[in-house]
Amino acid sequence: MDEVQALFQGFAVALSPVNIGLMFVGILLGVLIGVLPGLGGANGVAILLPLTFSMNPTSAIIMLSCIYWGALFGGAITSILFNIPGEPWSVATTFDGYPMAQQGQAAQALTAAFTSSFIGALVAVLMITFTAPLVAKFALKFGPPEFFAVQLLTFCSFVGMNKGAPWKTLAAMFLGFTLAAIGMNKGAPWKTLAAMFLGFTLAAIGMDNVTGQLRLTFGFEPLMKGFDFLIAVIGLFGIGEILVTMEEGLSFKGKSAKIDAKVVLETWKKLPRYWATYLRSSLVGCWMGITPGGATPASFMGYGIAKRFSPNGKNFGKGEIEGVLAPETAAHAAGTSALLPMLTLGIPGSPTAAVLLGGLLVWGLQPGPLLFVEQKDFVWGLIASMYLGNIAGLIVVLLTVPWFAAILRIPFAIIAPVILVICAVGAYTVHSSMFDVWLMLVFGVMGYVFKKLNYPLAPLVLALVLGDMAENAFRQSLLGSSGSMLVFVSNPLVGSITGLALVMLFWPFIGQWLGRLRKRRGEIDDDDVVEV
């Protein structure tokens, strides 16, 4: 068992006092980020990323990934106590979590949510521990056509998973590609677009900073050239979220939370009887995390499946504990397993994983299968820290819930400007450029409009990150084949990946057709979830 041995080496790396300290700092920051509207996993990590540039990569990723775990935990707190999902993946948790809180069972709901998050993550980490090395070994055989096919699959599955609006997904994705392509051709397209963006904001400012941007083209890692996706993440997710939250005019009718050891133990006693739900949700979560469905659709699917299979299915929505644990398990399993393709293929499974991937490049590590060969300490340190970080997370959230609930009672008139300031600082620190701060505001407006019109943000961000890589793989493949597209079906491996990608791409249309067929037979599919 090479993996087990490597894992123990990883524990040795992760268990240094500094790394344990960073783990707790990360978890606390993460829960805080998860609780506050406008700060989420992806943009929280994006804002803090510049602070880690000088850190040792292993410590940096341990802290940042713990922020991610913390954010996954934190989303549940607001959902259950305030009926406000702090994160999109905790929307499904509100369905039964908030009714439970209203019935005076807030502590039980929170305990169930945290424990389920922990179990979901644990299953995903176990899966990563044993499959990641195999996937990486397999992927070492990949050439450019295979890589492009996998990237194609990544994007096509967004279209396939998103039951809402396939064309919007496509449009958003191509926008991401376009923004990424700007960096490739440093000259004119950048100016064209910069001019357009400047037209949106204030024409006077930024020209100097545009030349400042050119600084990126030498000295920075390949992917960070040109348009910086961190700015897009901070604007789209941070500012966009603030604007949406502002519009809703937050009303604070939260329940206070007190968790004591007795409630925790009593709830824990109840949980084992839901083993089947755990199993189903974990599987759904792992699958959705690896194919880049992400935590949000996973949580809805986890909820929907549990509702269908549970004997108490009709009580769902009225405060059923199973309705809390199913989405939480799936969301956390998905959020965690999203790191598998990031580590093994260099393809992130979620926006937060995309930001972490950007971090790898900044710290001078090339993501992809070679990471498992060349950076053993880093990879296994990270995997070990996933076990430890989630244990730390469970302890931290159980102990600090009342404190975080109190933070939520701070009026939005204070929270909103403070978060805006934090986002501005985050955007500025990426390249010390004022232009980026303006750009962040532009992206904020875009995020607001896109969110309201159901244009998905995740594929946009992923395309922005992967655009360069996908284009390179595509061009190299075509060079190898002197321009023939048949290279993408030239052997069974690349052919089946491409085929799968095309199935995913056309899935919404196949689905519509099947749906029509089924309707004609009088069956109604009731668990259609429109993912935003």
């Binding site: 191509f174 376009t178 397209p189 604070f252 400007p417 300031v421 501005a424 309201k452 061009r475």
Partner: protein
Amino acid sequence: MPPATSRANRLCIAMTQHDPDDGHGRSPTAATRRTLEIITAFAFMLLGSLVMWDSHRIGAGWTEEGPQSGYFPFYIGLLMNIASLINLLKALRANREIPFVSRAEIRLVLAIFVPSLVYVGFMQWIGLYVASAVFIAVFMRWQGKFSVLKSGLTGVIVSVILFGMFEIWFKVPLIKGPIEAALGF
């Protein structure tokens, strides 16, 4: 903390009470969803066309060295145009009644967005720390109806924390203005 809760509610009330009502408890629509869908689709198509035009200009074909630098973006732009055209056609057939945002809602959104624009605009001249303190204080006083003392204090405390964290702890310099210069930073 009951006073804080009531203040939060007051924020909502203060920000919505002046809105005209259409008699059904909803503020009148400022823009329909259909309008925004159309505008967004057009913006996408404009961008897609710009990309195609520019890619064509720098070369989107083949040479002996393989695909030119405009090759990939050209097709991305084309595909973006196709996807957006379909979005546009769908939007044109959409319901004209569904609101995108009501007047009350857009007022709340602008209540944070316009000050943010001013904040970022001033950041360049007076530095991030001073601008942040003023921004937080003014917003709290204006929208949250906090006392001048509380608002000012919160703004200053946030800026001091940021300063300690970035300039001193992590040694990441943020944009500074004349006041920091006068203090010797």
